[in-house]
Symmetry: C2
């Protein structure tokens, strides 16, 4: 087990109707003038937008609004948010939405306190030392950004999708009401499910051995996510299943499932290129890339894939055919992704085979020519993984 | 799943040699004058005391000392600590030790900011609103106080052992170096193991249904604790096993394993009377009381005990003999407690049968005449559980 620091100071406020407490939470965290940051019309259609405004008014909190966050949130809106916060002397950001709204809010929060170009944080030219405090009302369980220190932003003009992060970006509070996710279409629910499972795989497929407690917590969470997913296919309004997905999505990315280990994140890197090039839904891209990555790295640590197959996918153990058992585990993961309506090949996901060189090109710009801890990879390896994912 | 708030803002600093960072951590949390609070000579014998003093000196932090914390920490030392902190204008408390030192530090931290008698917090006459900040260097994995909001103090003159708590009592940081626990005698290691397992049982035996993710996280942690315990019986210096025990003890009580459910805590109430009357080691008392409580409440929720037996104790499932399976689970728990050297009857633990009426008397004073969520209990039930635990 490696030494680690685990720090998750966010106050998670979870359950039915909890969004009604947003005013008192903001007051508790000393917000006076809030940037309300959100995406499109869904929170207006659902009535959440009105509810939040009413709660803020009741708490005598001034509000400045910035809607329009898109999936794969872009730098241009972040610049707009930073200017707005500075001009209006905003002292707190409230993100209402999924990972895109939260990530955009985090980038704004960091940018407000920085004199240079906020993209410096994503270019690794500067580190985030301070930020505006932020809070969250979550509507899409997927990215785990409600409990994480990270943010991912796309620089539109160059098609670069990059991450940054700092402990100061962890939300002060995150309100998570599973009922708010009832209206989420199955496609987005499923993409979110893939995303949170991927956050666990990125931690589970580690070169660090001997962290059996973390292993088991990962496995328990993966099993619970898949079980709840099957329930939701039959009944999208099953509260317990929605609640399991919501909470699993949060703990999948607040750090608790990665303690003691080197984390991986190669597959996220490979997927970010797809999202950037095609504006592909992140979860859909991961559903394609993770099985391909797993097949490609199978022999790097057969024992790990063997354990995953048995403990998570229920493949019967067979110590004389470990490789077959491990492969069967990956096949079951693919079957599961298909069952929830996700693409499992690049072809199905709408990519073009002739774009692979372009993907490799921007990958090199974004994460360099070698990457990976679990298995050291080169751009040639990346090309093979994209090809493996093709069909 | 019930609505819940999960808030665990403590920065956990985990691993080999991490205590060397205590100075910079204290500075980060703006400590200038620290009360160094600890127990007896063990931290002096191990050299930890010298290391800590040196680190504080290097960081230019002033130190006031108060040693002498005993297991089942007492009010008299808390009063002394409060006076000392006030007199010396201490602005931060550093507890070095196990749950006793940390609980004592928490009570002092709350008392310094309160004009009345700190025992008011334990008498339910006042609630803790503010406290001195505190940090921890953990040497005994057991109580989970390094990550919890709770403290338990014994009022010596009246033999009352009571708990209190507040979010402001959560440590700012907790340094957990598994190597510091190598020198812990097996008896104390085992008592700690029982304590952390009990913290999970108090959350697992809940009347709230349908929190399957929390169930699985509890089960994973219990399995990992027992597995690591068996390793330690053979090799007390196995780093991975010590690390598993240390981290399991922390997450067993920081709240993550109780989310979404009503927690129980009846058995802790029953045990506190034993600790108070006999100065019994808390974990030893729990090793006696938990199996008795489980047997007594078996039919309240047979399904729960059936699941526990299968998932944690590996009893083969048999849906036609659920009660037998459930009982076998409890028997395996008793066998496990015995295997790590814990008493499993009140007789073995050094209690006197004629004291049971006294235990019931103080129990009534401490927690009233009815208690329990999982199964509603009266003082008559409590008497029967003590009798069941006798031999």
């Amino acid at each position: 087990m490696n030494n680690f620091r685990f720090y998750s100071p966010t106050e998670f406020v979870f359950g039915k109707d909890e969004e009604k407490h947003v005013g008192e939470l903001l007051k508790h965290y000393e917000a006076k003038k809030v940037l309300l940051h959100y995406g499109g019309g869904s929170i207006k259609r659902s009535g959440l937008y009105d509810k939040v405004l009413k709660a803020l008014k009741k708490a005598n909190i001034d509000v400045v609004e910035l809607g329009g966050v898109k999936p794969n949130p872009v730098d241009t809106l972040v610049y707009e948010g930073i200017e707005l916060c500075k001009k209006e002397n905003v002292d707190f950001i409230l993100a209402v939405g999924g990972g895109s709204a939260i990530d955009s809010a985090k980038a704004i929060a960091a940018g407000v306190h920085y004199d240079g170009d906020f993209w410096d944080f994503f270019d690794r030219k500067a580190t985030i030392e301070t930020a505006l405090p932020l809070g969250v009302i979550l509507t899409i369980p997927a990215a785990g950004s409600e409990g994480s220190a990270a943010t991912v932003i796309t620089k539109e003009s160059e098609g670069l999708k990059r991450g940054s992060g700092a402990q100061v970006l962890r939300p002060k509070f995150s309100i998570i009401n599973p009922e708010l996710t009832y209206t989420l279409p199955m496609w987005h629910t499923a993409a979110g499910i893939v995303d949170m499972m991927s956050h666990i795989f990125e931690r589970y497929l580690s070169k660090t051995k001997d962290v059996i407690l973390t292993d088991r917590l990962c496995e328990s969470t993966l099993i619970s996510i898949m079980e709840a997913s099957r329930t939701l296919l039959n009944d999208p309004n099953d509260y317990e299943a929605r609640a399991t997905i919501c909470w699993a999505g949060t703990i999948a990315h607040n750090g608790i499932l990665g303690v003691g280990r080197e984390e991986e994140w190669t597959t996220h890197g490979l997927e970010h290129e797809l999202s950037a090039l095609y504006d592909m839904t992140h979860g859909a891209g991961l559903a394609v890339m993770f099985p391909a990555y797993m097949k490609y790295t199978l022999d790097e640590d057969l024992e790990r894939y063997y354990r995953l197959a048995i403990e998570v996918f229920g493949v019967p153990s067979n110590q004389f055919q470990k490789r077959e058992v491990a492969i069967e585990g990956i096949e079951r993961l693919i079957t599961f992704f298909k069952s929830i309506g996700m693409p499992t090949t690049l072809k199905d996901a709408g990519a073009k085979k002739e774009d692979i060189p372009t993907l490799i090109n921007t990958l090199e710009k974004n994460i360099g020519s070698t990457f990976g801890q679990f298995k050291k990879l080169t751009l040639q390896d990346a090309q093979k993984i994209y090809e493996l994912a093709w069909d």
